[in-house]
Amino acid sequence: MDILKIENLCKKYNDFKLDNISFSIKEGHVLGMLGENGAGKTTTIKAILNLVKKDNGCITIFGRDNIKDETIVKENIGVVLDDSFLPSYYDVMDINKLMKNIHDNWDDKQYFNYIKEFKLPKNKMIKYFSKGMYIKIKIAVALSFNPKLLILDEPTSGLDPIARSDILSIFTKYVENSNSSILISSHITTDLELLADDIIFIDDGKIILNESRDELLNEYSLVNCSNEEFNKIDSNDYIRYKKNRFGYELLIKNNIQFKDKYEIDNISKPNLEKIMILYIRGDKGECNKEINN
């Protein structure tokens, strides 16, 4: 069953357009949204949560319309927003009081377990929290009413590597234990490599890639070749290329066929970051190739 389904989502601003975004998340799956700042990740999340008005498209959460059944669906969505939280004079205890009143299935015990695990002070106002503590309290709140869907906008930015790793483990455990789903947007590609089952790349308001993480990491390859070698390669045999000071970097999909055809050995497995950079910043096509020559 699709926990979240987006079809042809469009949203136009003066200087930016979210263009026919479509994707879905299955139960128990984690979908990672990757893209540069300003690519449209946060706007997509805001449209899902009805924080911005979509111009077109259909969004269903748990099989229900996200606007018509807004209050019902939101009862089961835990959210971490990058730029928004409660007023700064709240402390951990106030937040518990507030959320107990807001969410019918709020779990005090679980909340205080997270508070303990994150080592957050109970009676200190959140305005005195460090950035890491501030992110952790947002995450603790998002997880403490057992939501079926977590929507996380840059949840690990600003955290040190140890804290990031701890948070990612918590998300992983959460999905495993509750069979919940996560939509996570990030530009920290290593986080998504560890957590996401499926990855979408958003660039300039469009989805340019939507594949499973395993497929991305196993089937894509990175070729490093010289200018001469590059000139011999058919543009249909690579997905993107980028010139560097040693020659060319090519993103390809079928490395065995490629190896047989061109006898180039310098082929390696790219990480998500490399794939993203090549997809977004790389070029494609014979036309560009001729210009480069």
Binding site: T71, V79, D83, F85, L86, P87, I102
Partner: protein, 225 residues
């Protein structure tokens, strides 16, 4: 109604930020009421003991709205199982709750005072209505502007509107004086209506609250958070 109750509780928790102000207000109210007892001055009880707490409490709904805006909490609150209609309605009901809550507290104080002082209950109720109504009127005039432009800009616009209204008042007075130099007929006219004024004022406030809420809701519905 359950959702509105949730929102009011949320706003009551938010009053924590104004704990000192609320405490100070009630200390002042009790202090002036006490002075009123000693000096036998009813004005102290009426204005400081009654008007002050109602005015301060009534103003707190706008302050909570401002704090949420400052923290950019609007977006986060919209992720709760609530919709925009609930959020806007919650703010109006919270304002009325504070005014009624304040009124109940000061009514109890007044009843206690009546045992010891010749307090005019009708006058007390009038003061309560006047200040409660004025505070509510300020809220309902300002809130649509706050939803449209944000608190800071709304305050500036509101000051200009207030200044314009206050500038018109002397002109109206001059106009009345020209036709009724001693205000004799005007006083008579007002006197004949005086008993209806509280009822009319309450009815007008109810209508203004509904209109203001509808405007605010319409604005908030279009707002991108």
């Amino acid at each position: 109604m359950n959702v509105i109750k949730k929102l009011i509780i949320k706003d009551i928790i938010a009053l924590k930020a104004y704990k000192k102000l609320i405490t100070m207000t009630f200390i002042m109210a009790v202090f002036f009421t006490f002075i009123g007892f000693i000096d036998k001055k009813m004005e102290y009880v009426t204005y400081a003991g009654i008007a002050l707490p109602i005015s301060v409490l009534g103003g707190l709904a706008s302050s909570v709205l401002y704090e949420e805006e400052k923290a950019n909490a609007d977006s986060y609150i919209m992720t709760f199982p609530l919709n925009r209609k609930n959020i806007v309605m919650g703010k109006y009901i919270f304002n009325l709750t504070l005014i009624f809550g304040g009124s109940i507290v000061v009514s109890l104080i007044s009843i206690l005072c009546k045992i010891f002082l010749p307090l005019n209950i009708m006058k007390t109720l009038s003061v309560m209505l006047l200040f409660g109504g004025a505070t509510n009127l300020l809220f309902i005039l300002k809130t649509p502007l706050v939803y449209k432009y944000g608190t800071e800009k709304a305050n500036n616009i509101f000051m200009i509107i207030l200044f314009a209204i206050l500038s018109v008042a002397p002109i109206i007075l001059l106009f009345v004086q020209r036709h009724d130099p001693d205000f004799k007929y005007t006083t008579e006219l007002l006197s004949s209506f005086i008993t209806y004024i509280p009822v009319v004022a309450i009815l007008l406030l109810i209508i203004f609250n509904i209109i203001s809420y509808k405007i605010s809701y319409k604005i908030y519905l279009q707002k991108e958070l």
